[in-house]
Amino acid sequence: MDIIEPLVKIVFIFLITLTTVAYLVLVERRVSAFIQNRIGPNRVGPAGLLQPVADIVKLFLKEDIVPKAANKFVHSLAPLISLVVAMTTFAVIPFGNSIHLFGRDIKLMIADVNVGILYILALSSLGVYGITLSGWSSNNKYSLLGGLRSSAQMISYELSMGLSIIGVLMIAGTLRLDKIVESQAQGMWYFWRTPISFITFVIASFAETNRLPFDLPEAEPELVGGYHTEYSGMKFGLFFLAEYANMITASAIIVTLYLGGWQLPFVGHIGLPDLAVSLLQIAAFGVKVGLVLLFFIVIRWTIPRFRYDQLMNIGWKVMLPLALANILITGVALLW
């Protein structure tokens, strides 16, 4: 078994994701500042570009306070689970077509599993653990309530997520993510072939990543910090990283399933060398993910938070029937 190639890809993915996470925080702060007519962080480095470095160094050097009443082991394990789960989703996402380098074809995804989509769903269902366990182990009212709320929220929206994917699967007929991307060639992206599925999936992604308007688990005015009230230092940093890593994976999944993945219409027909085409496709994937991320950020700073009963109502009484109806509509459309 060739071990070098996957290792290189894994390390590459790790570096890219972590850099993106660090800079996503900066982008979020700058965008929010722009929206609120402020300047935002601009002191560390030129135009604040070194702010993420400063943040990370600060998180490393902060004292770690674990309350006496907490369950120490679970308390440390929870942020670890959160981040690892958030990162591992990336293992099945194709970030480009195969590229011809060093005399061989390299497939630009780490693990080409046959059950790619189900793998993503299974992993996103594990995201509940980090939050629930941190809420429970902190032995704090806010944390427990936040953890509990968030797990109920995440499982509710996970259903709509799973059901909306079915629409794509019925058209694509495969669970493999690379095949799904290939079936979206020539601009036949799924977001306009199954629009209902696209909408429910994006909304469910917002809920799964606990982003506003669904950030009930850490609703500041009522729950202080929610599940990470009792976290400080690097452990808090891991939760922070996990939130943004989750955002990146969610965006990458949206792009892969609905926005054509690395597909760039017409690029194959203008006679560029293969290497250039491959690089352009990777760039296309990156740009698409970036745009979806920007959408995530803009939504956060423009829309107010739901109340918890509204949130559950939307999940169970709007999203679920919509996703079910979508299956029916897709079926009828495919048959006739």
């Binding site: 059950v115 769903l121 299974a122 509940v128 182990s137 509990l148 499982i155 996970e158």
Partner: protein, 175 residues
Amino acid sequence: MTLLASLELFDIIFYFFAFVTIVSAAVVVFSRNIVHSAFSLMFTFFGVAALYVMLNADFIAVTQVLVYVGGILVLLLFGVMLTTKVISVEMKTGTLQTLPASILVAVLAGTLCGIFWITDWLTPVARNAELPATTSSGIGRALMTTYLLPFEVASVVLLVAMLGAAMIARRERKR
């Protein structure tokens, strides 16, 4: 050393996951701390999922994680979290009804041994044989043809489960 050398990487990984599964299952049963039990159940489920992968049953493996770890264990954790406290998590797990339990266990063990006996195991020779690239669409086809009736009955079972859950919970709330 000779034993280790004769093992392939595949076997080593298999024994590792088998070990994880069995040990964590033992912890689930014997631990006096209910939170530790719930925790190690997670490792048991993961170990079983890994074993499914090694049997080339990718769909079942991922489903195992999706339903058991992502669903049923969350439910168990809800139960644990809502009833026990972080400190003073000691819960007594005693032994009751030894006779019916041992009869049930004997029947179950007998069935499992029977299945163990009649199953065609994936021997190293068979491992290299042609296997379907993916099991998912095969399962779909089987569900729609051979196992159509069990498939529809499953939905009735799920319906009953949902109604039952709603009923029990509603009674709790009224009280």
